[in-house]
Symmetry: C2
Subunit: 292 residues, 2 copies
């Protein structure tokens, strides 16, 4: 019999992911802090649950997709949390982006109750979530990933086993480092062109045809050239992710000068009150520095 | 009748470009400081010339592909230079990467002798030069580009008119800014992964399947993961290009904090004696900072 799935966290990412699971024919129970998203999913065929505990009691596999580690810890380990409603044999897949050591701690607490854990953060943004083309980075036991694979296949097109608990989060941190620097790359190139009298749209067109191409440029460059910054991926979440990367670097002796710089530029974007814009709005910080 | 072409500068880029012009059926005269490359091209059907002046006297269109602005100025404006051998109606296409204001100065000096000029720097590296898939960024008059197009089409697959004299060099500077930051992006992601126990090859594999993909990663990531840094694009040339970008930013009021940082990391790579490695060897500077 097919596994019953619970999904906790129905934001920009979790909502289309739950919808894709329903579309794939899974029985899905949902739980979310705000009720509006729950009602939307209920109308599409999901069963609402009042608390993560109640949701866990009705599920074989629980997926969490939450903003940050404190949210995951409360939803999983709190009094009305997932582990309070769990039975041995349950599988918990945390698809949030949190620090690798937080993922490891949660896996230890779950294992004590006979609950298996995977960290499975994603790349691809809300577009990838809607199209079920996410890249999913998995840490944990291979057997648990084998069990999760039919479910994850309804959410993403690339599923990679990166190593033991936390390794999925480590690779996600690497991913966020690369994307952040790609945003800076595109922003500085567009600003240099604009200040020197070349239309940013021409800069994007030429660069995407050569060695300077990036997927971020393909997806966001034309909108950036028009000054449009609808999320996509929110700047304040990317700033949080760079905090995780720098903390991981500090713990493991990596040196990331570019990441540290871009982390500060995101801090400036948030200080301007623009943390809920798309992360490509980093361009506007450089524009402001140049007096535009 | 087809235009007779002269090519000056037969290095990592100029040599395969001259070969592609011969393959396309053009009559090609060549000139180079070192004789070995001249003999190689002569064996393939090119006519050797002793000086740029002699070459210009036998050519309708002269292409220069040289390391830096002082080389271009000497080869074009020197006593035995191109302009000394030029006739009115000749077209000079400088495909070197130099500062936009140097390109503008050369265009003014050429125009005084009735010689038309295009700045037409390229992106795509030695692989792109060999495969004739370069992206060519052109500054100058549209009519001169129309005349050059059949020739440039034998060298690249994307030809973009960016604006007046110098605009091709401006967009090339933007290109080099973006590529430099993409190299830093990949290097920091790979170092963070490696220090945290994840194989850099897995990092490259996962990132290239998602939002963090870049063409540089596709082309160079696997070799970087193996510690191989055969050029490709030499680090010392990319360092020179970032100097042009920062000078242009200073002249036009752009602010490029990421570029300034990576320019210094390239300086460190050159200080280690590794300026003739591929620019992807930037990774080794970060590895050294992390004590690897």
């Amino acid at each position: 019999m097919q596994e019953r799935i619970g999904v906790i966290g129905l934001g920009l990412m979790g909502r289309p992911m739950a919808q894709n699971l329903l579309r794939a024919g899974f029985a899905v129970t949902v739980c979310n802090r705000s009720r509006a998203a729950v009602e939307l999913l209920a109308a599409a065929g999901a069963t609402p649950a009042a608390t993560p505990r109640e949701l866990a009691a009705q599920s074989d596999v629980v997926i969490t997709m939450l903003p940050d580690a404190p949210d995951v810890e409360q939803v999983v380990c709190g009094a009305n949390g997932v582990l309070a409603g769990a039975r041995p044999g349950m599988l918990l897949i945390d698809m949030s982006t949190i620090a690798p050591h937080s993922a490891q701690q949660i896996a230890v607490r779950a294992a004590a109750l006979g609950v298996a854990c995977l960290d499975a953060p994603v790349s691809g943004g809300s577009e990838g979530a809607a199209a079920a083309t996410l890249s999913i980075m998995v840490g944990g036991a291979a057997a648990d990933l084998a069990r999760a694979r039919p479910i994850l296949s309804a959410l993403g097109s690339t599923i990679t086993h990166c190593g033991d608990h936390g390794a999925g989060q480590t690779v996600k941190a690497c991913n966020q480092v690369a994307v952040a620097l790609h945003i800076a790359a595109l922003s500085e190139a567009m600003l240099l062109g604009a200040q020197s009298g070349v239309d940013p749209a021409i800069v994007v067109q030429v660069l995407s045809g050569g060695l300077a191409q990036s997927r971020f440029m393909d997806l966001r460059g034309p909108a950036m050239a028009r000054g449009e910054f609808t999320p996509g991926g929110r700047a304040r979440f990317h700033h949080k992710d760079l905090g995780i990367a720098l903390q991981l670097a500090r713990a493991n002796g990596a040196v990331l000068p570019g990441t540290a710089l871009v982390e500060q530029l995101f801090a400036a974007l948030i200080a301007r009150g623009d943390g809920d814009l798309d992360h490509s709005a980093l361009l506007t910080v450089l524009q402001a520095l140049a007096g535009r």
